[in-house]
């Protein structure tokens, strides 16, 4: 299991160094790929340091930029199944996925993080991909964002996505619990424990820094000092915050 962390190289409070992440026992980073020197260098540094990089493309301010490192996983779009500004019909999302898959054949491609709790969207997306783009390979993983779920809810949700095909791994590319709820450890265990695990390829907490989402929280404060969530999660990984 690769345990990653969501970062933002373009946010001063959201770009931890490789050394900091190695000490914390993280093995991967997930970020929005942007065509600017800072973002490019951050991805290059992480790849050099041996981190698995998951790059969100095709949405927000990505502008179609793909990091020039084929070992980077492309996560195509973000949360298209939500009722909101990122909403896309499953067939339209299949078109976006197929475009990236066809244009960048050397890269592994994961689905967007599905956040609706509605596996029917995923089914409809796969059906549209098969019908409209029969030459395009299916995703290497299906991603979920199990926000607000208990460990049992996470298991049920992940199993529902796994059961759609029984062959595509389920990964959790964003999840969060606040400190003091007693859920960070059991949630991480459900994600990462080979015996109890439901997302046995990858999971990544959101976010690294509270600066990335001030009202939600994070692992570190704006001065990069570890806060309660950071101590709870990173100690669960046997790392140093």
């Amino acid at each position: 299991v690769t345990v990653g962390i969501n970062v933002d190289p373009d946010n001063p409070g959201g770009r931890p160094t490789p050394e900091r992440l190695l000490a914390a026992q993280f093995e991967g980073v997930r970020l929005t790929a942007r065509d600017n020197p800072q973002n490019r260098q951050y991805v290059a540094d992480m790849v050099t340091a041996g981190f698995q990089v998951v790059a969100i493309v095709g949405t927000g301010d990505n502008a179609g930029f793909v990091p020039p490192h084929p070992e980077v996983v492309l996560q195509i779009f973000n949360e298209p199944d939500l009722d909101g500004p990122t909403a896309l019909e499953p067939a339209a999302y299949a078109d976006v996925f197929a475009t990236f898959r066809a244009t960048f054949p050397l890269y592994d491609c994961w689905t967007a993080g599905f956040a609706s709790g509605q596996p029917a969207y995923y089914e409809q997306f796969l059906a549209a991909l098969s019908d409209e783009h029969p030459d395009i390979n299916w995703p290497n993983a299906v991603a979920i964002h199990p926000y607000g779920q208990s460990p049992d809810g996470l298991r049920a949700l992940a199993e529902a996505y796994w059961n759609v095909t029984g062959s595509i791994p389920v990964v959790a590319t964003e999840w969060f619990h606040s400190a003091g709820q007693g859920l960070i450890w059991p949630f991480q265990d459900a994600l990462a424990n080979p015996n109890a695990g439901v997302c046995t390829v990858w999971n990544s907490f959101f976010p690294w820094g509270i600066s990335m989402t001030p009202e939600l929280g994070g692992l570190v404060d704006p001065s990069q000092e570890c806060i309660a969530e950071g101590f709870e999660l990173i100690s669960a990984l046997d790392g140093v915050c």
Binding site: D8, D83, G84, S116, Q118, E174, F176, S178, F206, M212
Partner: protein, 358 residues
């Protein structure tokens, strides 16, 4: 009232927003244009807007002063649309997209505006001179989300009191706080849903109606949970009681314990209270089936004459209500729907009602 039927005005295009202006005239926004009636909906005439803009607000004291937003920024006209001027230009330093505008009825030189962008930035500003100069109040940046500002509302009697509800939408977001400032936006206190990430069932506050000694707040739950609520406070927002609850809809992964999976997802599109009688309150509904909630399958207006203790349907089913306003001047309710603008005579009210934000 309950035996009466709504009457469709001569405006029969889908109406998204409706505003009663001082004197009782009505402005209605359709997908194509802004229209005005001075005869309770018998006839309508277009109001010219700047290119690529929409109505953002109406001066509570002067029917000739309108605000629009879009294009290059926030605009104002003093001659009901004949000429417009930009009072706030968009820029990366100020904001690149319109969020919401509030105009104080207690001092119509006092404006509050929320702008978003670039990226996941939000800024709140205030003008004390009708838009000639602006003072920054708040700025916040998040990552990987898009701001929505369902509510920014100035109090009608106290110019320094203002309410807001804003959320940066993403999968992690299930609701927002209602915040109040009593110092013209310098500082804010969460009145409702102070920890929205911990209490997803409280949803996103969307409409605040203030009656004598009472607040009503409508809140739509995140679509993954489904449903909505109307909450009442008799102590200036210190405590709230839910007086109208709809807990249908949602997705398999997020239905709450109080959820009825067979019930439709009912959301709130309008909320008004009689300004002279805080027990008399109206709620406009939007009924959806399935997820995501994109196709309205019904709606209508509910009335309570006892402060929310009981509710009855007001007139026939109009379909989904996009907006609801009360005109005290001509004692009529106006309901915006996909079929057009409907009106209904209501019992005598007091002074002009204080309604949800425009």
């Amino acid at each position: 009232v309950l035996s009466q039927d709504w009457e469709l005005t001569s405006l029969t295009q889908p109406v998204r927003k409706v505003v009663v202006v001082p004197g009782g005239s009505v402005l209605a926004s359709t997908d194509q244009q802004l229209l005005r009636t001075d005869d309770s909906g018998l006839t309508w005439s277009p109001v010219t807007l700047p290119p690529a803009t929409a109505l953002a607000g109406v001066d509570p004291a002067d029917a000739g002063i309108l605000y629009a937003a879009g294009g290059a920024g926030v605009y104002r006209t003093d001659d009901p649309g004949a000429t417009w001027r930009v009072i706030l230009h968009y820029s990366p330093q100020v904001g690149t997209d319109f969020g919401r505008l509030a105009i104080s009825a207690a001092d119509d030189n006092r404006l509050y505006v929320a702008l978003t962008g670039p990226a996941s930035l939000i800024r709140l500003m205030r003008s004390d001179d009708a838009g000639v100069t602006w003072q920054p109040l708040q700025a916040s940046q998040s990552s990987r989300c898009a701001w929505t500002i369902p509510l920014l509302q100035a109090d009608s009697t106290q110019p320094d009191q203002v309410f807001q509800s804003a959320a940066c939408l993403a999968g992690r977001t299930f609701g927002a706080s209602l915040k109040q400032s009593t110092d013209a936006g310098a500082s804010w206190l969460a009145l409702f849903n102070p920890e929205p990430y911990q209490t997803p069932a409280l949803g996103y506050p969307s409409h605040l109606a203030i009656g004598p000694g009472r607040y009503y707040l409508a809140s739509n739950r995140d679509a993954r949970l489904g449903g909505s609520g109307v909450f009442r406070s008799d102590d200036d927002g210190t405590t709230w009681n839910e007086v109208l609850a709809h807990h249908g809809g949602g997705t398999p992964g997020y239905r709450q314990a109080d959820q009825d999976p067979d019930a439709p997802n009912v959301r709130i599109g309008g909320l008004v209270v009689d300004s002279a009688n805080a027990d008399l309150v109206y709620v406009g509904l939007q009924v959806y089936r399935g997820y995501p909630p994109v196709q309205m399958v019904g709606g209508g207006v509910l009335i309570s004459a006892d402060g929310g203790a009981s509710w009855k349907t007001l007139g026939q089913d109009l379909g989904g209500i996009s907006d609801l306003v009360l005109s005290a001047e001509n004692q009529r309710l106006y309901a915006a729907t996909d079929q057009g603008l409907w009106s209904l005579a209501v019992p005598s009210t007091g002074a002009a009602a204080r309604q949800s934000p425009r």
